[in-house]
Amino acid sequence: MVVRTASPVSRRLFMKQTAALSAAFAAWKASPAFAEGVVLNILNSNTVWAGALTDGIAKEYTAAQITGEANPYESHYEKMLIELSQGSATFDLITTDNLWIVQPMANGWAASTDDIRAANPDLPEFQLANLAPASLTYQQYNGKRYGLPTAMTTPILIYRKDLLEAAGLSVPKTWDEYREAAAKLHTPEVAGNVLLMGGQDAHMSGDWGSRLMGMTRIEPHNDGVLDENRNVVFNSEGQGARAIERLREVLPYCPAGVEGFDYPEGSSIMQQGGAAMLITWSDVLVGVEDGPHKGKFGYTVAPTEKYEQQMVGGWSILINNASAQKEDAYRFLAWLTEGRGYEIMREAGESSLVLQRDIDNPEVVAVSPTLQAFADFKTRGTSPISIPPYREVNAVEVQRVIYEEVLAGVNGRKEPAQAMADAEARVKEVLAG
């Protein structure tokens, strides 16, 4: 038999409970934590430093909640462009490869941090002296600062110390030495060197760009591709064609399948002992020291030709101009410049460092051996070139055009001089819109 009883919640009790809940909700809303409740959302990358932004740094930074959406490299640019071009405020902060950085700054999608502070002088100043000077150039546009660096990289030469020693070779410092070493080290089992012809960015920046930079004198506002007046200069003295010839010289000493190699394949073949030398960006070498040849690798600045100068790249973080929380975003960036945030990135495993005291610390270099290249800048007298290559809003398109022509030159579909002449003509077309 079912015995019906009165509901245990009487009307009076219900009213009391509702009142209590309302009071609790009001108290919660009034609490300092919620009043301050700023959430800064980052359009993020999927790298180590990017992970630290929403993990270790988010835990340490108390003035706002830091959230983010990690994107793989391939889709990061698309996402950034769609969000910013449509004026979306979903993200308060935007991380960007320095290759694309001019686009948000020139199009007014990123807010100038100088302007934000000018509007409110109570905001703290950025402590930029803590950061590597070469990493700070990218976020400057038309005399104003637009953000901060998050990672600094440079093309490095990674080589097998044991193989060079066995062949009686010293570490190559010039392209002639590099070619000779590649030829001498090349065997059916171990390739003399690796090119990354299957990856647009890898081939452009790691293979061709690194060679190009040593071919001619780069003026302070000339990035090796364009000068400050948007003139195409990558082959003004025939240095672009010469860079292609340099690539063709070492192509016979590459492993099988090199036409399809991108960053991962380059790291992988070095890790497995299939090649003796590779030039690539310092931040894309993954797992090389986790393989059977651990401890046998040396890292230094990439070879040069006539001049000791080398490209420096990396990633940056900017404030979205459409964000309603620009001052809070600025405060977060100002906090980063104090240094602790960058230390957290390093503690998380990042090796493309920006904090100068970390880069200068021998203990840190011992843990992140790719940093040796930056140390070698000083001993070799290398000047870092840190201006975005293809410094146009359509940098991606310009890079693609040059890639297609460089590849045609390297693969022998065109003579290097013809490939460069075609590249010049096509880049001018792209720049003209």
Binding site: Y77, S85, G198, A256, E259, G260, F261, A408
Partner: protein, 313 residues
């Protein structure tokens, strides 16, 4: 009086019924029509409009407005685009032809009541059930020249090593093989179903007339399967013409543009360069080209005639 009102009521009911009959199909179709227009027709027409503009969100300072036929004229002289068109044609032809031959052979083989064939018929359908991204990843790893299992296995029979997707000369063949591997089961299942539905009597007559297996295949099986084969080829052809994901994962259009098919090129123009005006024009030209290919195929094969004849019967 009462009779008149009943008649009027009946007349009213008939009128309402007629109106209901007239409008009911539209009311029932309305949700579908609205959705189709919102998600299908409107974007299509919008992209047609965009194709006559210089819309390029990556460069807001560039002229974004009406440019007339400029994008279409530019496409006519775009060597990369026509290279992609030819490559897509070669890819589609090779992939569909190979799939068709294999699918017909498999359908005939599996049409025999042999032990274990029921299970095997199910197993060979697995490739088409796998998402193309996963297919691309699996094959990319298997085709690695140094570390991949394909070269390792071929080494046992003295073949290889091949460069597969890493070489200009073998990349297109490699992606065609992957496409054939994934989509032959699709053609197989259609042709197999067609084969199963064929009447027995023509085969029995052929047997009585003393036709050989080869004669029976060409003079009985193929003519009767013709409408099914045409449908299978048509569907497969349309699918192959727009292949994107597998190729993107395996070669990204490389090496050196060896697999730079239309869909890869369109993705680059539209979503890397964000040159949406030009990209839309290219997309429309591509659509028109596909339409022409399909119409030629339909005409050559007499597909519509076959359908009309069936409907008439």
């Amino acid at each position: 009086m009462a009779g008149a009102s009943v008649a009027r009521a009946a007349q009213g009911a008939t009128r309402a019924q007629r109106a209901g009959e007239r409008w009911a199909p539209w009311i029932l179709l309305a949700p579908t029509l609205v959705i189709m227009n919102v998600v299908g027709v409107y974007p299509l027409l919008h992209s047609l409009w965009v194709s006559f503009t210089g819309y390029k969100p990556s460069d807001p300072n560039a002229h974004q407005g009406w440019v007339g036929l400029k994008n279409y004229a530019e496409a006519m002289t775009d060597g990369q685009f026509w290279h992609a068109v030819l490559l897509t044609g070669a890819f589609t032809f090779a992939s569909v032809a190979l799939s068709l031959v294999l699918a017909v052979l498999m359908a005939i083989l599996f049409n025999r009541p042999l032990p274990g064939f029921v299970l095997m018929r199910s197993v060979i359908l697995i490739p088409m059930l796998i998402t193309p991204i996963a297919v691309g990843l699996i094959w990319r790893i298997m085709m690695m020249p140094e570390l991949g299992v394909l070269n390792y296995l071929l080494g046992f029979v003295g073949l290889g090593p091949f460069q597969w997707g890493s070489s200009r000369t073998t990349a297109l063949v490699s992606v065609i093989l992957v496409d054939v591997w994934q989509w032959t089961p699709f053609m197989f299942i259609i042709i197999f179903a067609g084969l199963k539905s064929l009447p027995r009597s023509p085969f029995e007559s052929a047997q009585i007339d003393g036709a050989s297996a080869w004669q029976t295949f060409w003079q009985v099986t193929v003519p009767m399967l013709r409408p099914v084969i045409i449908i299978a080829v048509l569907l497969r052809m349309i699918d192959a013409l727009r292949t994107y994901d597998t190729i993107y994962i395996i070669t990204r259009g490389g090496p050196d543009f060896a697999t730079d098919v239309i869909s890869i090129y369109l993705q680059r123009v539209n979503f890397r360069f964000f040159d949406l005006g030009y990209g839309s024009a290219l997309s429309w030209i591509t659509m028109i080209l596909i339409l022409i290919v399909v119409l030629i195929f339909v005409n050559l094969t007499g597909f519509l005639r076959t359908v009309n004849e069936k409907e008439a019967r």
